[in-house]
Structure formats: C-alpha cells, structure tokens
C-alpha cells in the first residue's frame, strides 16, 4: 500500500499532541487499512483458499442474525435486587459505527419488565380536558398518515456515574450506553389530539404505559408538536423492549418521557406529579433544592474510538470517532482535544447531521506513543457549548444524578491502554 507521508498541508497539525486537520486522509487512495501503525504482517503464504470457499454456505433464515464472530456486540444489563426486569440495559456504543442503533441493541429502561402485549387487545385512550374522549386500536391508527424521523433517545440518568467524586473505571457502554438512535415511524400525536379536541385550559398531558408498573409521566403540551405515536422502529414494528405495539416518541426529551407501551394520554391543566417526575429525574443541587422538569437532553458528545477497553496497537495514525447530540436541535460543531483540553481541533461531522439525532464526528490523530487525554466538546445550533465536568460539578455538585452532559476524558497510556479519568 502506498503510505502517505506526513508532509504537506493535508496532514497539518490542527491542535496539540498529534491532532490533524479534519480534511486529512480523505484524499483518494488513503484508505484506512495500514494507517493504524506498523505495516501488516500478512505474507503471501497466508493467502490460501479458505474453507468457506470450498463448500456451499448456510441456508436462508427467517430473521437474520449477526455473524457468530460478533457475539460480544451485546447489551449489558442490571436489575433491581429481587427482580429480573426492573432496571436498564446499555447499548454497546464502542462496538457500533454510524448513528443508527440496531433494534436488538437499543438501550432499555424498564420499571417492571417487558409486557407481552397482544396488539389486537391493546388500546390507546385519549381523554381528560378534551371534547371527545377517544379510543384507538392499532388497526385504527394504521389508517392515519404516518411520518418518519430519526431521533436519539437518551435516559435522563445516562452518565450519572460521572457526577461521582472519583472517576469510576467505566467503558463507554457503562458510562454512556443509555443512549440509542433509531428511525421511528408513526402517527403525529397532534393529529389525534386535534380529533379529540383539546380544551384551551389543557397545558399538560399525562402519558401512561401498559406495563405492570403503569409507568407514567407528565409532558408539557407543547411537546406534542413534534411527538409521534411510534409504531415502527428502523422499519419493523417497535420491539417489545421499546414499547410494542406503540410508544410515545418525544424527540430530544429525556428517555423516561418517551413512554413505552403507550395506553393512555390524559390532557390536564397541571402536571400530575408522578413518582418518576418527582422522586426521580430531578436534579438535586448542593442547596438541597432540586431542579424539576428538566425535559430536553442538553448538548453532549463523547469519543467512542478510542475508548476504555480498547488498546491502541502502537504509535501512528488513528481516526478518533464519536457521537454528538442535542435535544434542542442540530449539532453545529464538535471539537476534539488530545491534551486534556489545552488545545482543540474542529472535527469533521459525518452527514447527515439531523436535529435531535446522533451525529458522528471524526478526526485523524497521529499518536506519538506518549500520554494523551482525549476529549470532545459539542456545540449545538443555539450556540450552547458542552461544559467541562468541573463547571457542571461547580453548578450542580456531585449528587445531581441526572442529565450529566459534561466533557468526558479518556487517558491513553504508553502501552495504548485507554481509561476513564477526570481531567
């Protein structure tokens, strides 16, 4: 392979400790193979006719599965003591690329397991401060015009461990894995509300699920503008683990409000003050007061490659890659630092860059084999800049639990090992 030389404008340093210009390495012929350091040891003698070329392959299957060599690309989960389905599972972000989460890997947060809902028996009730309370079957909803949009969902508790005083040894899945992104298709909630005839004094909607916990949240009525009653996830019916046969999708809003197994929407004057919007999902400040109704997910980013659990094989060129998102709109910029925030280089954003969806960023880096602290910092369309962890802790203290969106630091050691640090 024709290896590129490090001279010339294409590989100019963009920031300290080896960060290169984001336009580097994109020229024709500069493929990724061989860029990672030492030339491949593959010799001519290794090229043989493999067994899978000497016999017919396996037959068709009704529903395809990943390669058996990808058995580590799975969710990790934890449940409350004495339960098997009350807890969360996390997306293996460090093993995925692009921005769409496969349905079997979408993160989950269940309060009482996954209900086994018969779609023919399921009903959606819209009532409360409406002129005409209405009941919808799945069959009825199928006759409505449907819309499709790509949206991330992030649990309000994602990265909560990063509020703690000591940096826990977490990989990306453990620190940020309550985050996924899918293409959702369904009926606009606003259309159903219009048919029911919302009364003018209605300011909130109570959304309730059909799980054993009857999980419920109050949603400000303005959220209905963008809301979908989602029936499809990445083209197929919403998975049971994500709300089959229908879920509320509130693009940008904390995951808990995107009520799964949606069975009831009640228009109300004020918030219902459910368990999850009072005792949970509120941000406890050092003053002892708590911030309530923290709805959109604030601008955030994290580096997925390299990240803890990955060992860089040696000095040389790598592509730093990660995810950025904002519940308020589009990501406008992501910067990357390799020196713990002393200097920053703008990363390239991979298209498409969509509002309230995951955005993939990338930046080439020439690692010299010495210590490095990798960070990413996102800015959204409103100009909000992702804060340092220190700034967030100064404002909120270490017991805030929810909506951590501070800059995350990965330290690279001399043997290429990567670990989570506070920097």
């Amino acid at each position: 392979m024709n290896r590129r030389r490090s001279t010339g404008s294409a590989t100019e340093a963009a920031a300290g400790n080896g960060l290169l210009d984001r336009r580097s390495l994109l020229a024709a012929g500069a493929g990724s193979v061989g860029l990672a350091g030492a030339p491949s040891a593959l010799g001519a003698a290794d090229l043989s006719i493999e067994p899978w070329m000497r016999e017919p392959g396996s037959p068709f299957t009704g529903y395809g599965q990943p390669s058996r060599f990808e058995s580590k690309t799975v969710r990790t989960s934890a449940s409350a003591p004495g339960t098997t389905g009350a807890g969360a599972s996390r997306t293996p972000l460090q093993r995925l690329n692009g921005t769409i989460t496969p349905n079997g890997l979408h993160f989950e947060r269940h309060h009482s397991g996954i209900p086994d809902i018969d779609p023919d028996a399921h009903r959606l009730l819209i009532h409360g401060l409406v002129n005409r309370p209405l009941l919808f079957t799945l069959e009825a909803l199928a006759r409505y015009p449907m819309e499709t949009r790509i949206a991330f969902i992030e649990c309000g508790g994602n990265s909560g461990a990063l509020y703690q005083k000591e940096a826990a040894q977490l990989d990306l899945q453990a620190s940020h894995g309550l985050l996924s992104c899918a293409e959702w298709t369904g009926v606009r909630l606003a259309l159903l509300l219009e048919e029911a005839g919302i009364e003018p004094q209605a300011r909130w909607l109570l959304a309730e699920g059909a799980d054993a916990a009857g999980m419920s949240r109050s949603v400000p009525i303005k959220a209905a503008d963008e809301a979908l009653v989602a029936l499809y996830q990445n083209g197929e019916r919403v998975r049971p683990s994500n709300g089959y046969p229908m879920r509320l999708l509130l693009p940008g809003y904390e995951g808990n409000m995107n009520v799964k197994w949606l069975r009831r929407i009640k228009a109300t004057e004020g918030p219902t003050m459910t368990k999850d919007e009072t005792s949970k999902y509120t941000i406890l400040l050092p003053s002892g007061k708590s911030l309530q109704f923290v709805f959109p997910i604030e601008t955030k980013s994290v580096i997925a490659y390299p990240s803890p659990g990955i060992t860089l094989p040696g000095a040389g060129i790598y592509e730093i890659s990660g995810l950025a998102w904002s519940g308020y709109g589009k990501i406008s910029q992501v910067e990357v630092s390799a020196d713990g925030g002393k200097s920053w280089a703008p990363a390239a954003l991979r298209e498409p860059v969509l509002p309230k969806a995951l955005t993939r960023f990338r930046l080439p880096w020439r690692w010299d084999g010495g210590p490095a602290v990798l960070q990413s910092r996102a800015t959204d369309g409103s100009g909000y800049v992702q804060p340092t962890r220190d700034a967030l802790i100064t404002e909120r203290g270490s017991r805030a639990t929810y909506h951590f969106n501070g800059i995350t630091s990965w330290a690279v050691g001399e043997h290429g090992e990567v670990r989570h640090v506070y920097a």
């Binding site: 409350a80 003591p81 004495g82 009350a86 309060h111 009482s112 009730l125 819209i126 009532h127 005409r132 309370p133 209405l134 009941l135 919808f136 009825a140 909803l141 006759r143 409505y144 015009p145 259309l191 159903l192 219009e194 048919e195 029911a196 309730e208 054993a212 916990a213 009857g214 419920s216 069975r263 009831r264 009640k266 109300t268 004020g270 219902t272 003050m273 459910t274 368990k275 009072t278 005792s279 509120t282 941000i283 050092p286 003053s287 002892g288 007061k289 708590s290 911030l291 309530q292 109704f293 923290v294 709805f295 959109p296 308020y328 409103s382 100009g383 909000y384 203290g397 270490s398 017991r399």
Partner: protein, 175 residues
C-alpha cells in the same frame, strides 16, 4: 326568492364541513365515561381522582408486614429495595443524599398513585383502595409526617404537608 340562496349557503356549509371532517381519518371510537373511569387511576397533586375509602397507620402496618416488608425492610428501612423512611436533613450539602418518601417526595398523593398502580412489585394492582390508603398512612406515620390516629382518605391525603414540598424549582435552560 331568498330560499334558493339560503339553501345554497346551507349546501356550501354542509360541503365545507364534510370536507373538513374528511381531512382527518377520525378512526377513534368515542370512549364512554365508565370505560375511562376504569383506566383513569392517576391522582393529581390536588387529590383529584382519589377513590372512596380510608386507612390508618395501624391498619397499614399489617398490610406492610404482609406485602411490603420483604422488599422494603422493617419499618421502611430499605433493603433489598428502596428505603422509604428517614433521610431528613441529608439533601443540602455534599454528603450522600438519602432520598425517601419522607425526605424527598413532595406530594403524598404521588404515594397513593404509585402504590396503587405499581406495588407490590410482584402483584401490582392487587391491593384494595382501603389497603393503599392504610399503607400510605403507615409510611407517612413512620416518617413522622402524620399522627398515629390520622385517617388517610380522599379528603385528608391531599392536605398532608410533605417536608420537601417546596424543595423543587422548575428547570430553565442556561446558555
């Protein structure tokens, strides 16, 4: 003379309303009040929606021992699951915050709503409304929020003053 024009106007209005109706699929079936009542179990902070019935701390102690104690411990002390009692004075500062019904929950109505819909974990919706009132009374009493002889009902529960009632501020974005 005027009849034809008013007929035309009526026809136009009829046509317009037909057109307007045709613009939305309108596939929902009207829900009857008794159907709604069966599903509408959410309780607002003003107590709207609380059912008839009542319970005392003493009655609640028996319900708690039978249905709640294995997960929430003796007298709501917690373990293996959530602690329900104590934690007052731990919210401010930098030490570990102990968030319980007593120290953190702003409304007693939320306790009724949640217990009735979701508890006990392995048999949600199996408690009678009287049992839910009673177990709420017991937990509130353990937290020292109500008196031993207090009776919890649709009238009294919304009036319970929770210690952290004023502990919340609506979030607004800062840039």
């Amino acid at each position: 003379m005027s009849t034809p024009s008013s007929m035309i106007a009526a026809a136009i209005i009829a046509l317009l309303s037909t057109t307007a109706l045709a613009e939305t699929p309108d596939q929902g079936r009207p829900a009857a009040p008794e159907e709604i009542a069966l599903w509408d179990t959410s309780i607002g902070p003003d107590g709207a929606g609380l059912p008839p019935g009542s319970g005392t701390p003493q009655q609640g102690e028996a319900v708690y021992a039978a249905r709640c104690l294995p997960c929430h411990g003796e007298k709501g002390a917690g373990k293996p699951n959530d602690q329900l009692v104590g934690g007052l004075g731990t919210l401010a500062g930098d030490q570990a915050a102990v968030k319980t019904v007593g120290s953190f929950w702003p409304y007693a109505t939320t306790l009724f709503d949640y217990v009735r819909r979701a508890m006990p974990f392995n048999a949600p919706k199996s408690l009678s409304d009287d049992e839910v009132y009673a177990v709420c009374a017991y937990i509130l009493r353990l937290n020292g929020i109500i008196e031993e002889r207090a009776v919890m009902s649709a009238q009294t529960l919304p009036k319970v003053q929770m210690p952290n009632r004023d502990g919340f501020m609506p979030f607004s974005r800062q840039k």
